[in-house]
């Protein structure tokens, strides 16, 4: 593989205006900035991101503070506008998406909201938890005997932002080809509702909600305590014999464990055997055994663990960024193969003059 991260950036020349400033919009434009787009971020809701979120999501962006009239001019000078305000908030400021599109047909506008631009909940208030609850993943996470559990790090907003990245870029590709952009209505609820694995379609078909299964979907698909933390196993039928060979218990060679249909009945007993095997091994041992014997084993790693992970180091995954709190290491390029720039963290409003000059001409700088 070419590990090339230098060279002419693939999105050099693309201008992106980010309006809003929440996690969703910041995430959506993060990779655009890294791959070379000129991202100007207008922070409408000060303090919405924590310092850690700023370190992860804002490197390489220019931060501006402008009037509504200047914002409108910048929107018309942009290739893409990514925003996460409430439905109608752009129009209220003189940036009605349809009017902008009519004025500049190649413009891509991506609107990121909890529930979308229209429909009975469009005006609803939401936090990450509330948007996550409405998307279905929440109902499946945690224990059946306890309340549904939200996963960490604001996933409703991240998932919305990740969709925003792909959708914006895809519509921009169409605009490059045919001169026509689009206005994309992305809802956090819909982003999640369409990716409920088998659980969503199955419940739609049989009318029965899928239960929360905690860390144990079945004995060979789950998370177990290891000697120094937690580790996981996810085996398909074709990998089960290799897992059983590793565990080395002769009882596992019986059809009641090997046969996928019979195994369901003795799942609890099998789970006890797997648990006993995990409990005597460290996470590192388990991961190495998995790689060696082609058994899908993994370990619950913390971000601190991963900062010194040899694979991530060899692949050059982390970028360094100077922040007001010191030098941080944050995820860099999302994949290898195209030039990427690490980018510095700018201060709020620090780039206003430069962006106005670069996008609108010397006469518009303050």
């Amino acid at each position: 593989v070419s590990q090339e991260t230098r060279g002419e950036l693939p999105l050099a020349g693309m201008r992106v205006l980010e309006i809003g400033g929440g996690v969703a919009a910041a995430f959506a434009t993060r990779f655009l900035a890294g791959y070379g787009a000129d991202v100007a971020r207008s922070e409408e809701r000060a303090g919405e991101l924590t310092g850690d979120e700023e370190a992860a999501l804002l490197p390489g962006k220019r931060r501006i503070s402008v009037s509504d009239a200047e914002l409108r001019a910048l929107a018309l000078a942009a290739d893409a506008l990514v925003e996460d305000g409430k439905p109608g908030s752009l129009a209220a400021r003189g940036l009605d998406p349809r009017a902008l599109r009519a004025e500049k047909p190649s413009l891509v506008i991506t609107s990121l909201t909890p529930f979308g631009q229209h429909g009975p909940y469009a005006g609803y208030e939401a936090t990450n938890l509330v948007a996550h609850a409405a998307g279905g993943i929440h109902s499946l996470t945690g224990l059946a005997t306890r309340p549904p559990l939200a996963n960490g790090a604001n996933q409703a907003w991240k998932l919305l932002g990740l969709n925003g990245f792909g959708a914006t870029l895809t519509a921009y590709y169409g605009a490059q080809l045919r001169g026509e952009g689009d206005w994309i209505d992305l809802s956090a609820q819909e982003c999640a509702a369409g990716m409920l694995e088998l659980y969503g379609p199955r419940s739609a078909m049989d009318g029965v909600p899928s239960p929360r299964l905690g860390n144990r979907t079945n004995a060979v698909w789950g998370i177990y305590p290891a000697r120094d933390g937690y580790a996981g196993v996810c085996t398909l039928q074709r990998q089960v014999p290799a897992l059983f060979a590793l565990i080395g218990d002769p009882e596992l060679e019986q059809p009641r464990f090997l046969d996928p249909m019979q195994r369901i009945r003795d799942d609890r007993e099998l789970g006890e055997k797997v648990a006993a095997w995990f409990a005597t091994r460290t996470r590192t041992e388990l991961v190495e055994l998995g790689a060696k014997h082609k058994v899908p084993l993994g370990a619950v790693m913390t971000s601190l663990d991963l900062l010194s992970n040899a694979s991530l180091r060899e692949r050059g995954f982390f970028d360094e960024v100077e922040t007001p709190a010191g030098r941080a290491r944050v995820p860099g390029r999302p994949f290898l193969g195209l030039p990427w720039r690490a980018g510095a963290l700018s201060a709020p409003g620090a780039d206003t003059d430069a962006v106005l000059r670069d996008w609108l001409g010397a006469g518009r700088a303050r």
Partner: protein
């Protein structure tokens, strides 16, 4: 009618299970033509993962059919010389090849990057192994939950009182990797437009997953911070949580971000005695407040509770389960579900593309393909294979309309 952005883009799709097929479902929604390539000896495992009562269970899998709509199915045994040769000719007619095999498999099949770029110099190849093509962990086998564990996210999820990290209830690493792969495809196509050059993208699903918890890496590097399990609470405001409602396993999620929302909540739940609590007091007395909210919510239907709190401006939503989400009035009003006729199955509500391009208006067009359904169209129509050779290829199991020795699992 406005054209979809990826109309005219052809993708040879070698992906299986969920991450890759999720990526190519989105590419199909955006207008790309997807040729799903499977072997009679090595088919997409999702077709036969679970037992199905049907004479052709591989064509009647709900899991497969939900994530493979709008694609065409071609069978080719890539381990057979003729199958490999036909694949390379097909790849030469495509803009993109995408695969999510374990890191060593593509090369072992003799169709690695150098071979593919010889077949078509400006090809885009997107490889999306769990841990990437390089590095000491490249041989790890990674399904979604393992990717999530190895990326740091699982360590951040927990109730807080048992010390246990919890996996996300779906194989979250898969669609996250898939969505990033869509971005990778388009980025590489943009690059090709600029430079005329093809690209090999090496996407490690673990690395795209780690992006979803980026701030935790900042916290770890700046302050050596260890994961904090907050259950459903938020460090910035209080109260926030998930509360039981009337009915079986029914829950309401709500947040109170400031004093005004707090006063609105206590009025709604009959807890006026707590109206003057500051943020600090609400944090300190969170358990007690949770009990008061639960006492109210238990007597209410979750939909009605959500609507009444939202009417007062309080962020609240019912926790929609995998059944009720298909009947959510908001999603129904947005026409978020559609029914596609399928020859082997009763139709079920399938999600529209979440990428609502309001002008181009993407809509699912056709059910997932039957195994090998498009063999003739593609092999004869595109590659000029003689009709008479099809039977020979089928007899040699290079192609087929059924997997060989399909079991369950």
């Amino acid at each position: 009618m406005k054209r979809l952005p990826l109309e005219g883009v052809r993708v040879a799709d070698l992906t299986m299970m969920w991450a890759g097929p999720f990526a190519t479902r989105v590419l199909a929604e955006m207008g790309a033509e997807i040729l799903k390539i499977e072997s009679p000896r090595a088919w997409d495992n999702v077709r036969t993962l679970l037992p199905v009562e049907h004479p052709e269970p591989w064509n009647a899998s709900l899991y497969f059919n939900d994530y493979n709509r709008d694609k065409k199915s071609v069978t080719l045994d890539l381990a057979h010389p003729r199958g490999r040769e036909l694949f390379l000719r097909l790849a030469a007619l495509c803009d993109v090849v995408i695969e999510n095999y374990r890191a060593d498999v593509l090369d072992k099949l003799g169709i690695g990057w150098e071979v593919l770029r010889a077949a078509r110099p400006d090809l885009v190849l997107v490889s999306m192994a769990g841990f990437g093509k390089t590095g000491p962990e490249r041989d790890l086998v990674g399904f979604g939950p393992i990717v999530e564990q190895m990326a740091g996210l699982t360590s951040l999820t927990g109730y807080g009182d048992d010390g246990v990290p919890y996996k996300t209830g779906i194989s979250y690493g898969d669609p996250v990797g898939g969505l990033a792969a869509v971005g990778a495809v388009v980025l590489a196509l943009l690059q090709r437009r600029r430079t005329g050059q093809g690209t090999w993208i090496d996407l490690a699903q673990r690395e795209t997953m780690a992006q979803m918890a980026g701030e935790a890496f900042a916290a770890a590097s700046l302050r050596e911070e260890q994961p904090v399990h907050r259950g459903n609470r938020d460090p910035r405001w209080a109260p926030q949580g998930v509360y039981p409602c009337a009915g079986n396993d029914q829950w309401l999620a709500l947040s109170v971000r400031d004093d005004a929302e707090w006063r609105a909540l206590v009025a709604a739940i009959g807890a006026a005695d707590l109206a003057s609590l500051s943020l600090d007091s609400r944090r300190a007395r969170h358990d007690e407040i949770d009990a008061r909210i639960a006492a109210w919510s238990q007597a209410h239907d979750p939909q009605a509770a959500m609507e009444s709190l939202q009417a007062r401006g309080i962020p609240a939503a019912r926790v929609l389960d995998t059944h009720d989400i298909h009947w959510d009035p908001h999603l129904l009003a947005r026409e978020a579900w559609t029914f596609l006729p399928h020859p082997c199955m009763q139709p079920w509500p399938q999600p529209l593309s979440a990428w609502r391009l309001q002008e181009a208006s993407p809509k699912p067009r056709r059910h997932a393909p039957l195994f090998g359904e498009h063999n003739r169209e593609i092999l004869c129509g595109w590659l000029g294979v003689a009709e008479s050779e099809l039977a020979e290829l089928e007899a040699a199991h290079v192609i087929g309309t059924a997997p060989l020795r399909a079991g369950v699992g």
